[in-house]
């Protein structure tokens, strides 16, 4: 076991938590990510492997499926898979073992910073941040758009729970945008 200590995307030892009114924004570092893109001509096999990996049907466009290991649509024949970091730090290797030559797999764990927005009234925050149609935010919805010029994924896990994934290097700016909007809206 190596002896290097991890930092969160915001640079802390512990995840940052901010609460304004009924809405809480939590930094979530405990997540492993990998991108999966089907090889040319192997789209069907790749999808089958994905089903095996997540134990659920492959997600449609702008959706996510799965539970402990979860996949969300990120492009044509392309998905991002997500799993708990502690049990899946080597998620990309685990996935590659299942996908074999049917897909290209790339570790994405630390490419992204995740912030979870929780609570009543998160829509009032989100409408100040992104131009996605919030009427489509129902559980299982996953879309990419931009927040203050930062390309982000938004995953709707419940009516009062949305995860935002932004590039790790921009975590500070994204966090600032989100908490500023929380104060503005609540």
């Amino acid at each position: 076991m190596h002896d290097l200590v991890a930092k969160t995307a915001l640079g802390g030892s512990e995840p940052r938590v901010d609460t304004v009114g009924s809405v809480t924004c939590t930094e979530v570092p405990g997540v492993a990510l990998a991108s999966v893109a089907a090889r040319r001509g192997k789209e069907t096999q790749a999808q089958k492997a994905l089903v095996k990996l997540i134990g659920a049907p492959a997600p449609e466009v702008q959706r996510f499926t799965g539970d402990q290991v979860l996949a969300f649509w990120s492009g044509p024949d392309q998905w991002m898979i997500e799993a708990p970091f502690d049990s899946h730090e080597d998620l990309a290797d685990q996935a590659k073992a299942i996908f074999g030559q049917t897909a290209s797999v790339t570790e994405q764990t630390d490419a992204w910073a995740r912030f979870d927005l929780l609570g009543d009234g998160i829509n009032a925050v989100l409408e100040l941040l992104c131009q996605l149609d919030l009427r489509r935010f129902e559980p299982g919805y996953a879309a990419r758009s931009s927040i203050h010029h930062i390309g982000c994924f938004a995953l709707c896990r419940g009516t009062d729970h949305v995860s935002l994934y932004g590039p790790r290097s921009s975590a500070g700016s994204l966090h600032h945008a989100v908490t500023t909007a929380m104060i503005s809206a609540h």
Binding site: H2, A111, S170
Partner: protein, 980 residues
């Protein structure tokens, strides 16, 4: 002062008293007042001075169309000039000041302009300030600027915060008068997602200004009840204090919500305004109509306003502009104002109606077939002179005159996509044309339906049509009077009769414009500035057009119409900026070692969106050069570490990955062995260099490509273009991994020794096992997955090591701790740059979009055995001519002489001019390795001119330096160090 002009009734809360100040004097008001109604209540009619002639001005209207009643609101940095008093919602402690006057509003020295009005007519500036040209900047412009204009800026940054937001709906209804409310009820009850936006702080539009009933209730009570029903609907969103400012492509509307303007001060972090982008399938414009004045001599005195404004002030705000009021009208609606005011106990001096068949009243005198020909009163209206049909005149004693010339539908938003309104002969006004913005329809007075019942009906119908509803709701009974008016624009013979009060344009100016040949409406506008003030001529455009039509002997539609543009009302720049101001203007990207570098006291520099450590000063260092020189020396002598995470990293996988890279890079990649890295040169299709970087082959079907920091995004985009658009059947997949890996350059003769202390022992990184340009997956510090590349930008024995970004901070600290025995130094972008210049490596300064591989000395890299992007056009004649620029190094003859990037190279003899230009300097640095200033440059036939002496000139900085042309590889030209 007591509120002398306050009437009974109205929608104000008399139980609460608010204090406010105007021009330093204290007054009282009530919640529900606007600044305008409160000033009138306190008998303040004089509010400002006019733009050009500094004439005393008061209020013309009661709404956002106001051209005159402009004030500077609030004070200090919060001061906002040119704020329409008619739209300012009263709050306790409000302060406002009149503008465009000196030294005081009542005595203004520039009012002499009014005496010289004959000289200041249309086109005055064009005609007067023509020559000499030199006078413009020093004399004319300062004088004009002082004399003209309205409010003054605070000259401080706007301290308020603004938000931007996004909302979606099925139906956006713009305006919450009778048509808008009825449309919202219809759509809301049918379950549609509705946004109802209105600029006012009380919804209801004119329903709040009228005394008639809707159904069994008063109009305002009906509006209140409708709003209550809509508020209870989860699918309806009411946006009061929200002006829809523009209709944009494909059903996008801009709207400004004034969330904080009515508050004495904003709570921390709360926005003053929010600029909403509203996406809707359908939009329904229910913006109502604007009453237009009639032009007559001296029609701009304070106290003269539109008749409907007088009515609004009386019915909604319980205020009369004066105890004794006269009306001048060409239609029946003007009489309604008289009867409403009379009912409130205001004395009606007379109703002056231009029509011979005007209706009579038992309550007050009506002068039929009469016209107002002049007015008197120094700082406000005292008397009105009326010409009677028998040729006699009458003088009416009154403090206010309500003028009604008919109503103009508010068609503005229908024009924002180049729609042209059409003339309605019956209304004598423009109504929306056929060519509306996609998805928009119009109802109520905005569509020329002027009665209340008509508005309710058309609102319901339009909503039902937009949403394909089968049934209409029951409509309440309401006033449905037919229109009765005779078009009448201005009183014949008048001269100083104002058409556009905000820009001081008179009837005479419009006629002069015609005489001088400015006859198209667009020319009229620009010559006279009619309608070009912040009110966009809401009360003046049509009148100006009518006068032009009459002079030209044409009809109004033949004369044309001007087109309206966004925004509908002025918007603070801050609202467009939103939160993206100051350092939040763009996202800031931090490297994994940022927090560590900050602790070390690093100086940071912006590189695109990134913040990078520029150098790391030590306690005894007082000048940046000391730090940078030390970092270079220490690295070249022992070992240095630099965070190079910012370089773009793109994962390229697939069975065709190698062939794909063959296409995007000018040099070959097919034969690159697994475990090896290669420098790659990427061209644009026109043959110019786009970017450079490395590609490391981690597996047969897996490469990691690096790009320059600056081009990471555009190179990725380009590679996706090649993949999807040019070679769609290639088996290749791309994804950016820039942020995922913390990547550090470890450079210097001791770099291997340092790395050996952290790389796990099963990985042999000796020169034999891991030679120059090797790459591979390794583990460090007891099992952490990592990648190692033996590449060098500094020219030293060097590696780049990458670990997952979350461990980047810890790895940097570990490298520093383990490197102590080697006197390791972190180095920043300055030292990085010095070392790359010493090695002659091109970067953005050299890859400047005008250089080819041949220019950079890499012509041989462009393979013509394959078809790669840019290879064909890089061979064009002019790009391969014998005297093209070649990359060279240069050294001043005197090592301390400063060399300047951007300076040009000239022969030692001969003139210094563009015709004799030999090339230019791209990069400069002080080289601590050579103890000399050095530079890189592009020189004609440079590769053949090594050893030649030249002059480096920079006329801008008055610099001439003698330099010697040398190889660009100043340090270790054979590359022995990096292979060590």
């Amino acid at each position: 002062m007591t509120q002398a002009n306050r009437l009974s009734g109205g929608q104000i809360d008399r139980d609460t008293t608010l204090n406010f100040q105007f021009d330093g004097r204290s007054y009282t008001a009530h919640p529900g007042d606007t600044l305008a109604s409160a000033l009138l209540a306190n008998n303040v009619r004089l509010i400002g001075r006019s733009f050009k002639y500094h004439r005393p001005r008061g209020l013309l209207t009661a709404g956002s169309e106001e051209p005159n009643g402009m004030v500077e609101l609030r004070s200090g940095a919060h001061k906002e000039p040119n704020t329409r008093a008619t739209t300012v919602e009263m709050f306790d402690g409000l302060t406002a000041n009149s503008q465009n006057r000196w030294p005081s509003l009542r005595f203004d020295t520039l009012a002499v302009n009014d005496l010289f009005s004959n000289f200041l007519s249309a086109g005055f500036y064009y005609k007067t300030f023509m020559w000499p040209a030199a006078f413009w900047e020093k004399l004319y412009e300062p004088i004009i600027r002082r004399a003209a204009g309205l409010g003054s800026l605070s000259m401080q940054a706007d301290p308020d915060e603004y938000d931007k937001g996004f909302r979606h709906c099925d139906l956006l209804i713009i305006g919450a008068g009778p048509a808008g409310l009825m449309a919202a009820l219809t759509a809301g009850r049918a379950g549609a997602d509705v946004i109802l936006a209105d600029e006012d702080f009380t919804l209801g539009g004119r329903l709040n200004s009228e005394t008639f009933s809707v159904g069994e209730q008063s109009a305002s009570d009906w509006a209140t009840q409708a709003v209550a029903e809509l508020s209870a609907m989860p699918n309806v969103r009411l946006m009061q204090r929200t002006t829809v400012i523009g209709a944009f492509d494909h059903g996008i509307y801009g709207a400004v919500e004034r969330t904080g303007d009515h508050l004495p001060s904003l709570p921390a972090g709360k926005p003053r305004q929010i600029l909403w982008r509203i996406y809707c399938q359908k939009a329904l414009l229910c913006a109502g109509a604007t009453e237009r004045p009639i032009a007559f001599e001296n029609n701009d005195r304070p106290g003269i306003m539109t008749a409907s404004a007088l009515r609004t002030y009386a019915n909604r705000f319980a205020v009369t502009a004066a105890p004794r009021v006269a009306i001048f009208t060409n239609n029946d609606d003007g009489h309604r104002t008289a009867s409403d005011l009379h009912a409130k106990g205001v004395k009606i001096a007379a109703v002056v109606d231009v029509r011979e068949d005007a209706p009579l009243s038992y309550d007050y005198e009506v002068l039929k077939g009469a016209q107002v020909v002049n007015t008197k009163g120094r700082l406000g209206l005292s008397f009105v002179e009326v010409a009677l049909p028998d040729g006699s005149t009458r003088t009416l004693d009154c403090g206010a005159l309500g003028v009604s010339g008919g109503w103009n539908p508010s068609v503005h938003l229908t024009c924002h996509q180049r729609g042209r309104p059409v003339w309605d002969e019956n209304l004598a006004a423009f109504v929306p044309g056929e060519n509306l913005p996609v998805g928009m329809s119009v109802a109520g007075a905005a569509n020329g339906v002027m009665s209340t019942h008509g508005a309710l009906r058309s609102g319901a119908q339009a909503a039902a049509t937009a949403l394909n509803l089968a049934t209409l709701p029951d409509l309440p009974e309401a006033e449905d009077a037919p229109l009765a008016q005779t078009p009448f624009w201005y009183v014949q013979g008048c001269k100083r009769a104002w058409v556009d009060q905000q820009n001081d344009v008179t009837v005479k100016d419009v006629k002069l414009s015609y005489q001088e040949g400015f006859r198209s409406v667009e020319h009229l506008k620009r010559y006279t500035t009619l309608g070009m003030a912040t009110d966009q001529g809401k009360t003046s455009n049509i009148t100006g057009l009518a006068i032009m039509a009459e002079v030209a002997g044409k009809s109004i539609p033949e004369t044309g119409t001007t087109i309206f543009r966004p925004p509908y009302t002025p918007v603070p720049i801050g609202a467009f900026a939103g939160r993206m101001i100051g350092k939040e203007f763009h996202p800031t990207r931090l490297t994994p070692s940022h927090h560590w570098a900050k602790e070390r006291g690093a100086v940071f520099v912006e590189a695109g969106n990134w913040l990078r450590a520029q150098w790391f000063p030590q306690a005894d260092e007082t000048h940046w050069r000391e730090s940078v020189d030390r970092e270079v020396r220490q690295t070249r002598a022992s070992v240095g570490v630099c965070d190079c995470t910012t370089l773009g990293k793109i994962d390229v996988q697939g069975t065709d990955a190698a062939e794909f890279l063959n296409r995007v890079y000018a040099n070959g990649f097919a034969k690159l062995a697994v475990g090896k890295t290669r420098y790659g040169l990427m061209l644009r299709e026109d043959g110019m260099v786009m970017d450079d970087g490395t590609a490391a082959r981690l597996a047969e079907d897996h490469f990691v490509v690096t790009t320059t920091t600056a081009n990471a995004v555009s190179v990725y985009r380009h590679m996706e273009f090649v993949r999807q658009c040019l070679f769609p059947d290639m088996d290749v997949q791309l994804i950016s991994t820039t942020d995922g890996w913390a990547q550090y350059a470890v450079a210097g003769p001791n770099s291997r020794k340092l790395l050996q202390k952290i790389v796990d022992p099963e990985f042999d990184i000796s020169n034999e096992a891991f030679p120059f340009m090797a790459c591979g997956k390794i583990t460090v510090c007891g099992g952490l997955r990592a990648r190692l590349f033996r590449i060098s930008f500094s020219g030293e024995l060097a590696f780049e090591i990458a670990v997952p970004a979350r461990y980047g901070d810890a790895l940097m600290r570990r490298l520093m701790a383990e490197g102590e025995e080697f006197d390791v130094t972190p180095y920043g972008t300055e030292a990085l740059s010095v070392m790359r210049i010493e090695k002659g490596h091109p970067v953005g300064n050299e890859l400047n979009g005008t250089t080819t591989a041949l220019n950079l000395g890499m012509g041989k890299m462009v393979s013509r055995k394959k078809d790669s992007i840019g290879s064909v056009l890089s061979e064009r004649e002019a790009l391969t001519a014998p005297d093209i620029l070649k990359l060279v190094g240069l050294k001043p003859i005197t090592p301390e002489d400063k060399v300047t990037a951007g300076g040009h190279l000239m022969n030692v003899e001969g003139p210094i001019d563009a015709a004799h230009d030999q090339g230019y300097v791209t990069s400069v640095a002080y080289s601590p390795s050579l103890n000399s200033n050095i530079g890189l440059g592009l020189l004609k036939r440079g590769d053949e001119r090594l050893g030649e002496k030249m002059r480096l000139v920079s006329p801008l900085t008055d610099l001439t330096v003698e330099v010697e042309i040398v190889s660009a590889h100043f340090v270790d030209p054979e590359g022995e160090r990096l292979r060590a």
